[in-house]
C-alpha cells in the first residue's frame, strides 16, 4: 500500500509539473503582449511630453510623478527602455528629447535609490538602463554616481559590470577610479578583458584617467594592474617612460612586466631596444616568457642588431621563442639572403620554423580563397 502511495505521489508531482509548465507558457505569452501594451502607452505619454517641449512648455509634473510610481516595477522599466530605444535612435540629438532626459533626472535619481535595495538582477538592469541613454550629458549628478558606486559593491558580476559601464559613460575619472578600487577589493571576479574593454568605452578625458591610474597603480592587485596596463596600451602611446620603468623593475609582477614589454611591441621607443635585445637573448629557461614577448616586440625595431638577435633566438630550445623570432623576422621582411645561414643551416628546428613563416606569409599574400 505504501508503494502504491509513493507511485501516486510521484504521479501527482508530475501532473503538477505539467500544470506549472502550461501555466508558465500561458504567462510567457501574455507577458509579451502586456509588455507591448505598456510600451505603447508609455510611448504615447512620452510623445505627448515631447510635443509640450516642442512648444516651449516643461514636462508635465503629473507625467514625472507617474513615472516615479510606475518605473519602480522592473517590468515597467523594461517597457520604458523599449520606449526610449527607438526615440534615441531616431532623434538622439533632438533638443526636445535632450530636454526631456534632463528633466527626467530627479525621477532617475529617486529610482536609483529604490533599485539599490532590490535583488541584484534588478539592480544590474537599472545600471544597464543608466549606461544606455547617453547619461554623461544628462546625469552629471554627484549623488547618482555615488549610488552607482554602491552598486559596484554588490556581489553580482553583472551588477558590477553594468555599474562600471554606466560610470564610464558618465566620464568622471575620479568615480571610475573609485569603482576600480572597489572591484579590486571585492569578492566577485572581473576578468581583465572585461575591465580593459569597459575602460575603453570611457567617455571622458582618457589622459586624465590614465594619469590617475599611474598615480595609484601600485595600490592595485597584479590582476587589476594587468587590465589597466592593457587599457593604456590599447589607448595611448604617450606613456613609454612609465612603461619602461615597469619593464625594468624586477620587483614587479611577471604579467605586469610582460604587459610593459608588449607596449613596446605596439609603440616604437628607441631606449627600449637594448633591454628588449637583452630579454630575447636570455638563455635562462625559467625566463622564457620574457624572451618570447621581447622577440615578438622586436618586430617594431628593424636593424642589423635586431636581426642578429632574432636569428640567435631561432636557435633557442624553446618552441615559443623560436616561433616569435621567426614571425618577427618575417614581419620585418628580412632579405632572404640574410637568412641563408638559417634556411640552409644545421639547426633543423630553426630552419623549419623560418621556412614555415616565409611560406605562410607567401600563401596569405598571393592566394585568394574561392
Amino acid at each position: 500500500m505504501r508503494i502504491e502511495f509513493m507511485l501516486y505521489f510521484y504521479g501527482a508531482v508530475c501532473i503538477s509539473m505539467l500544470a506549472f509548465n502550461v501555466a508558465y507558457a500561458v504567462l510567457l505569452r501574455s507577458g509579451e503582449s502586456r509588455l507591448t501594451r505598456r510600451t505603447r502607452r508609455l510611448t504615447a505619454a512620452v510623445e505627448e511630453q515631447l510635443g509640450r517641449l516642442d512648444q516651449g512648455l516643461p514636462v508635465d509634473s503629473r507625467h514625472l510623478s507617474a513615472l516615479r510610481r510606475k518605473l519602480r516595477r522592473v517590468n515597467n522599466l523594461t517597457a520604458f527602455d523599449r520606449t526610449l530605444r527607438p526615440l534615441v535612435l531616431q532623434r538622439g540629438d533632438d533638443p526636445s528629447l535632450q530636454a526631456y532626459l534632463i528633466q527626467l533626472q530627479p525621477c532617475i535619481l529617486y529610482l536609483a535609490l529604490i533599485y539599490r535595495k532590490r535583488e541584484t538582477t534588478q539592480t544590474a538592469y537599472f545600471s544597464y538602463f543608466l549606461s544606455r541613454y547617453m547619461l554623461q550629458q544628462h546625469m552629471p549628478v554627484q549623488s547618482l554616481q555615488d549610488v552607482l558606486l554602491s552598486y559596484m559593491a554588490r556581489e553580482n558580476l553583472y551588477c558590477r559590470v553594468n555599474a562600471l559601464q554606466a560610470l564610464c559613460s558618465f566620464g568622471n575619472a575620479q568615480h571610475v577610479m573609485e569603482a576600480l578600487h572597489l572591484q579590486d577589493r571585492g569578492a566577485v571576479f572581473l576578468h581583465e578583458k572585461i575591465l580593459t574593454e569597459t575602460l575603453l568605452t570611457y567617455t571622458g578625458d582618457h589622459d586624465a584617467l590614465i594619469s590617475m591610474i599611474w598615480d595609484a597603480l601600485d595600490t592595485f592587485s597584479p590582476h587589476t594592474q594587468l587590465a589597466l596596463l592593457n587599457y593604456i596600451r590599447f589607448r595611448s602611446g604617450s606613456y613609454p617612460k612609465e612603461m619602461f620603468a615597469l619593464m625594468e623593475d624586477p620587483g614587479q609582477d611577471k604579467e605586469v612586466r610582460l604587459s610593459a614589454i608588449r607596449y613596446f611591441g605596439r609603440y616604437h621607443y628607441a631606449p627600449a631596444l637594448e633591454p628588449l635585445l637583452a630579454f630575447a637573448a636570455d638563455q635562462d629557461p625559467s625566463r622564457w616568457e620574457y624572451a618570447t614577448v621581447s622577440a615578438s616586440s622586436l618586430a617594431r625595431y628593424p636593424g642589423e642588431q635586431t636581426v642578429e638577435a632574432l636569428k640567435q633566438a631561432l636557435h633557442s630550445g624553446n618552441w615559443y621563442i623560436r616561433c616569435a623570432a621567426a614571425a618577427s623576422l618575417e614581419a620585418q621582411q628580412v632579405d632572404y639572403a640574410d637568412l641563408m645561414d638559417i634556411v640552409n643551416g644545421d639547426d633543423r628546428y630553426a630552419r623549419e620554423i623560418m621556412t614555415y613563416q616565409r611560406e605562410s606569409h607567401r600563401i596569405q599574400k598571393a592566394g585568394v580563397a574561392p
Partner: protein, 468 residues
Amino acid sequence: MNMDAVQLFFDIVGAFFVLYMLGYASFLFLAVAVGSSTLYQLKRRNHLKNELLQEYYVPVSIVVPAYNEEITIVSTVRSLLSLEYKLYEIIVVDDGSTDRTAAALVEAFGMEQIARPIHRMVSCQPEKAVFEAPNLKVPLTLICKKNGGKADALNMGINASRYPYFVCMDADSVLQYDSLEKIVRPVLEDGTVVAVGGAVRPCNGAEIQGGRVVSYHMPSRILPCMQVLEYDRSFLAARILFDRFNGSIIISGAFGLFKKSLVIDAGGYDTTTMGEDMELVVKLHVFCREHNIPYRIRYATDAICWTQAPDSLSDLCKQRRRWHIGLFDSLTRHRRILANPKYGLVGFISYLYFLIYELLSPYIEIFGVFTVIAAFALDLINVPFMILFFLIYVLYSAILSLTAFFARIHTIDLKLSVTDILKAVGLCALEVSFLRFILAWVRGTALLGYRKKKQQWGTIQRQKINFQ
C-alpha cells in the same frame, strides 16, 4: 524447489527494484525541476540584461577531427567561417580518411600545402601533410595524419592550435552563430573555469541559415523525434543539475571548450579509449583535485551545437554502443573517485549516478524484465499491480520528458506547430516504453568484444547538412 526460498528471492528483488526506481525517479524529478527552473531563470536574467553585453573575445582554436567526412566537412567549415566571433582559428584534422575528405577541403578553400612544424605537447600519430587556406576571415588549417582514432586526431589539433582555449567539435555538426561567444562567457565570468560543455541538440527538423535556426519542426521520422525528447530529459536536465555543484563528468565531444594548458598538463586525450570526451573530463577533475588547483567545469545551456541524430535504428545502436563502452572505460579507469571524500560530490553523486543509472542500468533493467517473466510463470506476480506500476512509470517519464522539452522550447523562443506538439506528446510515451528497452539491450551487450573496437571511428551514415 523450496517455494519459500523462491518467494524470498522475489521479495528481495522486488524491494531492490522499488529502491532503484525510487532513486531514479527522484533524480529525474530533481534534474528536470532544476533544469527547467534554470532555463527559466536564464531567460529572465537575459531579459533583464544580466549578461555581458560588450563584445569580449577570448582567442579560441576550433579543432574538428574528421574521418571519412567527405559529404559534410565543407559545409561544416563554411558554417564555422560564418560564426559571429572575431578571434578564432579552425583546425581540421583528417585522421587518415579513405575517402576525399582532405581533397574536398583543399578544393573548396583553395588550400595550399605547407611545411609547418607542429609542437608536440601531447602524443599523437605523425602528420603526413599540412595545408593552409589564404585570405579567409580566420586562419584555416588542414592536417592530414596517420590514422590513430578520434582522440589521437584531437591531440594533433591541440598540438597545432595557437590559442589558449580550444573547442572540440564533430565534423557533422553545426555551431549556432553565437555559440562561441556563449561558450566563452563562463570563462569571463569565473577565472577558475577550465572547461565548458555546450548544449548539443539534434538538428533533424531544423532549418539553419547562417548559423541561425529559421524554422524548427519535430523531425519527420519517428526515431530522431524520440531522440529529441530523450536529449532534453536525460542530457540537458541532468547536466544542468550536475553543473550546480561542479559535478559534470561529461562534456560531449560534439561541442566543448577547454583550457589548453591544463589539458596538456593532464596528458591530453586518452587514445586508448572510445569515450575520450568523458575520460578527459573525469581526468581533469582528478588532476585538479590532486594538484589542489581551484577549478570549475561548467555547462553553457545557451551555447548551441546542432548535430545529426541517427536516422536509422542500426546507426543509433552503433552510437549508443560507443557511448556505453566509453562510459565503461572512463568509470573503470577512474574508479578511485567512487565515494572518495577527496573528490567531493563528484565521487558521491556524479560517479555514483553514472555507475548505477547509466553503466549498470541496462543489466539491471534486463534482469528486471527476466524476473518479471519468471515471476509471471510461477504465478508470483500481482498482474494488475504490475500493469499499474508500468503505466505510472510511462506516465511519469513521459511527463518529465515533456516538461524538459517544453522548458527548452519556451526559453529559446522556438515556435512549434500543433502537429509538432501532438507528435511530442505521442512519442514521449513510446520512447520510454519501447526505445528505452531496445537501447538497454544494445548497451547491455555493448561490452562484448569491445577491446577490438576501442580505437575505431564510429561509422554512422552521414547526410549533407542543410546549411545555407
